[in-house]
Symmetry: C2
Amino acid sequence: MLIVMKFGGTSVANAERIFNVANRIVDSYRKGNKLIVVLSAQGDTTDELIEKANEINPDASKRELDMLLSTGEQQSVALMAMALQKLGVPAVSLNAQQCGIFSTSTHSNARIKNIATERISKELDAKNIVVITGFQGVDRNDDITTLGRGGSDTSAVALAAKLNADLCEIYTDVDGVYTSDPRIVKSARKLSVIGYDEMLELASLGAKVLHNRSVELAKKYNVNLVVRSSLTNDEGTIVKEESALEKMLVNGVAVDKDVARIAVCNLKDEPGIAFAIFSILAKNKVSVDIILQSIGRKNTKDISFTVAAGDLNEALKILEENKQRLGYSEILHDEEVAKVSIVGGGMATNAGVAASMFEALYNEGINIKMISTSEIKISVLVSEKDADRAANAVHEKFIFNEK
Amino acid sequence: MLIVMKFGGTSVANAERIFNVANRIVDSYRKGNKLIVVLSAQGDTTDELIEKANEINPDASKRELDMLLSTGEQQSVALMAMALQKLGVPAVSLNAQQCGIFSTSTHSNARIKNIATERISKELDAKNIVVITGFQGVDRNDDITTLGRGGSDTSAVALAAKLNADLCEIYTDVDGVYTSDPRIVKSARKLSVIGYDEMLELASLGAKVLHNRSVELAKKYNVNLVVRSSLTNDEGTIVKEESALEKMLVNGVAVDKDVARIAVCNLKDEPGIAFAIFSILAKNKVSVDIILQSIGRKNTKDISFTVAAGDLNEALKILEENKQRLGYSEILHDEEVAKVSIVGGGMATNAGVAASMFEALYNEGINIKMISTSEIKISVLVSEKDADRAANAVHEKFIFNEK
């Protein structure tokens, strides 16, 4: 089998951990697999390099920052190749320039456009384990780019897609994808398989196992992904295309406490008001999640919405600056809220899921502040103090009982 | 003017020093010069990376070691470009892959074969200061190589040669080339100019200002070199082709205390004995300097020679192992010796220089143990305790009085 194995920075933080990973790679190699290993920078290396850069010039061009940061992964891959050689297997490290991982020129947030496979194939044919820098590419000027958050996952999936790998293994510090956060929901259990779309919804809901870009890419090219622990031999969770028949009603319950609610009150009830509010926020890079519009008294309306807690102050400032233009009377906000969501591919074809969820919350005496639904997701906003109880109740209703 | 400026690792060891260097570069840029800046890795970075590699695999392939080490210079150039941008001048960093500094494939000790100038010229035309990684190249497989000791000087001179630069400035922690070591010889003074050949002899005699490979390259392509301090604005020393008329009788006096003398006694007086001794040593990478052969009693001869002090034990071991084959009676050795040398392009055409040197030593009552001469150099071996007095006496005779 041709397998892409991806390990994060924690897994290669020091010599001991590098050998742990190297031993796992050698095991797979000795089974006759052809291996591509994708690595992140060691431990805190990237943060340390960013600090060095900030000390010199916080406004340095992103091109130079990428030039600096890319050295982190290059060190990881060279050290890993050395460790593999020490264990008696042939290995060669390659950076993005050497592989030909071509990307857009958007430094610090580039997208992979294509991968030249000649060099990689040559090394695989020579029985080498090919150890490749994650997180980076080169643009058409031969300048080094980095791929932004979750970039190494994306590198791994892109390589698996381009080389038609049989499997893309993403090694992390958790042993798979869970039906909910085990720290909150006691009955949470590991999923043996999940669909791409459900994984995407879960990731966007705060299950930070895989970055969305890598899952989107896996979906697009139908790459068999496995999320598993670099510390155990557990089987992990397979992420793949699920047929409708296989779809579970609800795959997971996600809790996101990192949200805030804003209410803009007594807006004039005119066309275009909602557009005005959300286009101003979008222009200022504030992402809005659940939106709710209610009819107020005397030809006015209220618009409430949620933002990431970190964007709250920015959002309030923007709305304040545009008070005259928007013509509202006051703004309320609430940080003591949390979003509880259920995700499942089976939901789209199964009526009554929302009702069941609301019933579970009602039975716990939990008040719902806002509701948002999509084809495979239902989210509710509740008080932060109710969040864990809400998650447990919903998880029990849909997942624990189902088992 | 097109100028190549090279700074060593100490000059870019931290943010403060990087800005010191950056300010100097900006001064030159504002005078209208086109600038190529060549940098080494910061401070102890290279040593730290070697340590990391040794921890994992002391026998790692040199290819992987080069992959690892090359990140040091890449960090330097990115940080310097950021500092220059901070000071308001346009700058771009390039690694050896991006420049196209093509080398042989001898990892850890590669030679530059050619430099593709397109990218560099493009950046210079765009008014950018081009900051380039020293010490490294890429071979024809696109693998990263390093150039071995003094590699960054060599990178700078090679770039100056290929781009026809008007000047190649090598910045160090000394302010130029001296007629002798100022710590030993009180009357030592800075040379304003020295010829390539004399510089080569001085370098090989322990004046560790410029690595020989860079001087050889400068000579070959007639590159105007300047050695100057990165801490002061002193003019430094120009290294260039000198015409015979300009040649000083003696340019410098060098003292090397890092030597040891070995005497192999009572060898059979047969052809091939000297060859046998020195081929065995050469095969074991022991370099021999001054050689003296003397006729002994009863058809035997003695052969004495000097080696670097660090090679003494290895040399003795090798000779001991081959005692039977070489057929000597005993080996003597002496570490309490030093080599004092005078170097000068004018020597070749001026008889009596050796006699004058010996006279100066005789006047000081210093005994000469061995003598070696070349076209532009005379070396004598003396007791280590006499070395400083010998250097002063000879310096006074040839250089101080000449002034």
